[in-house]
Amino acid sequence: MPAIDAPAIRVRGAVKRFGALQALAGVDLDIQPGEFFGLLGPNGAGKTTLISALAGLLRLTSGSIQVMGHDVLGDYREARRALGVVPQELVFDPFFSVRELLRIQSGYFGIRKNDDWIDELLANLDLTNKADTNMRALSGGMKRRVLVAQALVHKPPVIVLDEPTAGVDVELRQTLWAFIRKLNEAGHTIVLTTHYLEEAEELCGRIAMLKAGRVVALDSTPNLLSRVSHHALKLRVAGLVTLPASLAVLGAVLQSGGLEIPFTSHAKVEGLLAAVREAGVEIIEVEIAKPDLEQAFVEIMQGAAA
């Protein structure tokens, strides 16, 4: 029997080898119910392998994974009922219409009369007028939305989205994220992998970064950002052609229409501005650029490589 207070997802010592290649090298991870969790990493880091193992699409070499307290192998029926997966690839069954597919998918999960929820999904994903259209006739963005609907037909408490916005337009992204946020607010646990780091920064409360099959960082999004030392003073200046040597030693770089000087502590800003004035540079506009997840990502990945 699963523990009542079990995490939404529990990964313990997950190792997966494909011949000589070690895709997962011992991953431990707990994701709590109701979290909006980001799983980030470069290509080949092991994100999709981890999600595939979670979904029962591949078997671990060693280790275990539970979904809502149900082991994905030993108690696979309950584990799969608790999980909805939006795959990365744009896959579809060409024989059926959108509604047929969603009814069939509901039946796989033991739900026979699901039209009310299917209608709600179609409305939320802006697919109502495509309900009776064959999958082959849909655009890429619409197929992507159907994939999301398929993952949600059985109202799973845990929803995994593997690169759900890859190659889709801005409008669809906004629609999709509004809907996923609504689901998260209603208590669903969301696990997201994405290459758009600003999405992860905006949406995810906690983030794990994977590299070479290992978790190299796991923290709340604000804590990850605070690890980044890379603030920058961005100055729009008048008529600067060459970078003064006194500023070059501070790490300043010349950019179109201005200067960018990195710094680690806000206490140093006053001194940097003074150094710019002493170099005879006229400041027109000052901006302090905050660190973003992209910088954090790069620094953490570089740190993990060291």
Binding site: E78, G107, Y108, F109
Partner: protein, 252 residues
Amino acid sequence: MSSAFRTLLYKEMLRFWKVSFQTVAAPVLSSVLYLMIFGHVLEGRLQPFEGVTYTSFLVPGLVMMSVLQNAFANSSSSLIQSKINGNIIFVLLPPISWLEFYGAYVIASIVRGVAVGGGVWLASLFFSWTGIAHPLWALAFVILGAALLGTLGVIGGIWADKFDQLGAFQNFLIVPLTMLSGVFYSIHSLPVFWQALSHFNPFFFMIDGFRYGIFGASDASPWLSLAVVSGAFVLVAGLCLKMLRSGYKLRG
């Protein structure tokens, strides 16, 4: 019977029914053409069984050949298409057991085999009618043969990574074994060596057993045919279930 099993079975049947012109009507037409051409050319020249015309002899062979080839085509094409398109994940993500998976694909194959075989039999009534001597024997061989080929289709569909690999499986194994099984001839018309070799072909026993069900006469004992076909089915089903249980080529 779980909802997942029923749904997968329904989906597999709906899949071939949506393209029934290609999956049912076309193979019926092919068999009717065989019947017209071979029946016309060889009628009166061959009489494999006493009191049975060549066209009548040909009908059960063609019916059974259609059942077997279409049962194989159903499961194998569904699986290879789903694997190559990637939409196989829609049946791998839900809580469907390996036994339910096997049962749904094989039963859908039997249904398609019976639909095509039934179509060929109905069309053959325009050319010949001999009645059915032992309906239960005939039915047993149709169901067992279709189940065996549906299972081979699941194995082929899972094993093959590309369409041409499945094509090789079909063209170099299934088609020769079917064509050399006595569809168009009685093995007693063959030289002794080839007669003996035919007894190692389980497809011969499927077709010969079905002929016994139709005419009450056959080259081999129907009990021997039943034993060989059942044994082959158990063997192939065992292999297929082992593949599914281990997740071979489906679950990494």
